[in-house]
Each structure stands twice: as structure tokens, then as C-alpha cells.
């Protein structure tokens, strides 16, 4: 596979990739839960940069706002609320020490398998991959509506309005559930 791409894109991708993976490793490696949460925020931010590189501006912003801004804050709330107690990570040894070895092996196998499949699978440009010919063609949309966000919005309210409504219902249910679970009884 020959790299026929200009250098800035390549450097940007490489730096982002390394950073994202490092932050991901940080999530699972830190003993302190707060450190893990902060690491996760970093990962989310780097992923938002990825999305920008891939041309999904709206999603990138939404990720930062909602994921990194609201969900991780929620996490941090609970982490710091429960951090004062014994979380068990540091003091007790694991009940099943062999779990770590097996998990590492399986993770490695997972990566190896996926990589193999990804590298030897059909290329996106090959004739075997069927190109979608839907009206939601992104390039056409962007050209028609003048940008990613506009195209996304038109698609959301014209093609995906039903999932949109259902999702709002889901949020209401989650809200109610959280209220019920959170009550002191």
C-alpha cells in the first residue's frame, strides 16, 4: 500500500493517533479513578480532533459539548463522591490473579485478528465494495446546503425524525429511572 498523501495530513493523523492511544491507555492504567476520568476526557478531545479531520464538524462539537462536557462531569461527580471510601483497587489484591494474563492475551489476539482482517480485507475503492447511491450523499448534501452542519440537520429532520423522537423518549425514561434509583428509601 503506497502512501500517496500530503505530509501535513499524515503528520496530523499520526500525532493524533498516538495521543489518542496513549490517553486510552491512561484510562485503564491509572490507579486513581479521578486520573482515569481525566484521561478519558483527553481521549474524547483527541477523538473530536479526529472527527474534524474526517470532516464531521457538527459531531466533533457535539462530542466536546455533551460527552466531554456533560457526561464526564457526571462521572467526575460520582467518582469524587465515592472516592473518599475504600475503592478496593489499591488495598486488596485481585481475587482472580490469572484474569489479568488471560485478558491481556485475549486483547492482544483481538488486536491481531482485527488488524489482519483490516489489512487484508477488500479496499474501499475496489469494485467489490458497493458504493451507496442514496440521497443522503454527503458531498451532494454539503454542496446543496452549504456545509456539514446544514446537511446533517436536513438529514436529521427529513430522514431520521423518528429515531430523533424516540431518543427523546429514551432520555425521559433514563431521567425517571435515575430519579427512582437515586431516592433514599
Amino acid at each position: 500500500m503506497s502512501i500517496s498523501v500530503d505530509t501535513p495530513t499524515f503528520i496530523a493523523f499520526f500525532v493524533l493517533a498516538v495521543a489518542t492511544i496513549a490517553a486510552g491507555l491512561g484510562v485503564i492504567a491509572f490507579k486513581n479513578a479521578v486520573h482515569s476520568a481525566l484521561s478519558l476526557i483527553l481521549t474524547l478531545l483527541f477523538l473530536a480532533l479526529f472527527y474534524l479531520q474526517l470532516g464531521a464538524m457538527f459531531i466533533a462539537i457535539v462530542q466536546v459539548l455533551i460527552y466531554a462536557g456533560a457526561i464526564m462531569v457526571l462521572f467526575l461527580f460520582v467518582v469524587t463522591m465515592l472516592a473518599s471510601e475504600d475503592t478496593g483497587d489499591v488495598t486488596e489484591p485481585a481475587r482472580q490473579p490469572w484474569q489479568r494474563g488471560i485478558a491481556a492475551t485475549l486483547g492482544f489476539l483481538l488486536i491481531a485478528g482485527l488488524s489482519y482482517l483490516l489489512f487484508t480485507g477488500a479496499s474501499i475503492d475496489s469494485a467489490a465494495v458497493v458504493q451507496p447511491t442514496n440521497v443522503n450523499g454527503l458531498a451532494a448534501g454539503i454542496a446543496a446546503y452549504g456545509g456539514n452542519t446544514e446537511a446533517f440537520g436536513m438529514a436529521l429532520f427529513h430522514g431520521f425524525s423518528f429515531p430523533f423522537e424516540i431518543t427523546s423518549l429514551l432520555i425521559v425514561v433514563a431521567l425517571l429511572g435515575a430519579m427512582v434509583l437515586g431516592r433514599k428509601s
Partner: protein
Amino acid sequence: MHELPISWYLIVSALLFSIGVVGVLVRRNPLTIFMSIELMLNAVNLSFITFSRYLNSVDGQMFVFLVLTVAAAEVVVGLAIIVSIFRTRRNINVDEMNILRG
């Protein structure tokens, strides 16, 4: 502009996903496990955006949008559960939660 091969982005996504999986299996703090699960979700989101770009379709981005929403709801409920467990047991080590055993 020349594009990078799609498989590169997907490799990154796969790596993140695996890291999340290992995290779920290794950590004992349920909050950290939850964070690993979020990591997995985000890796999949990256895949979706990649495909959306390379297949010239908005469906991928739409999917990510909805996943984001569902992830939010899920986090809310999950954290509420963890908090209520903590209230009764005063301990949130998953190794201690093995009552449902044969």
C-alpha cells in the same frame, strides 16, 4: 486531496476498542469499568465517522449522534445504580459483588 487508507483509521479504532475491553476485564472499580465501556463506545464512534466519510454517506454521522444520546442516558442510569449499591454496601469493589453465583 489524497486520502489516507481507510484501514488506518479503523486500526486506531480497533486499538482503542481493545484497550477498552482489557480495561473492563482488569479493573475492579466499577466506575473505571464504566469508563472503559465509554472508551469502547467512542472507538466505535470513530469507526462510524470514518465510514461516513469514505462511503460518502451521512448515515454514519447520524448513528454517532444517536449513540451519543444513548450513551448519555446509559451513563445516567448506570451511575445511579452504582451509587445505590454504594449506599447499601459501602464498598464498590466488583470482586465483592458475587452473590448471584451458582
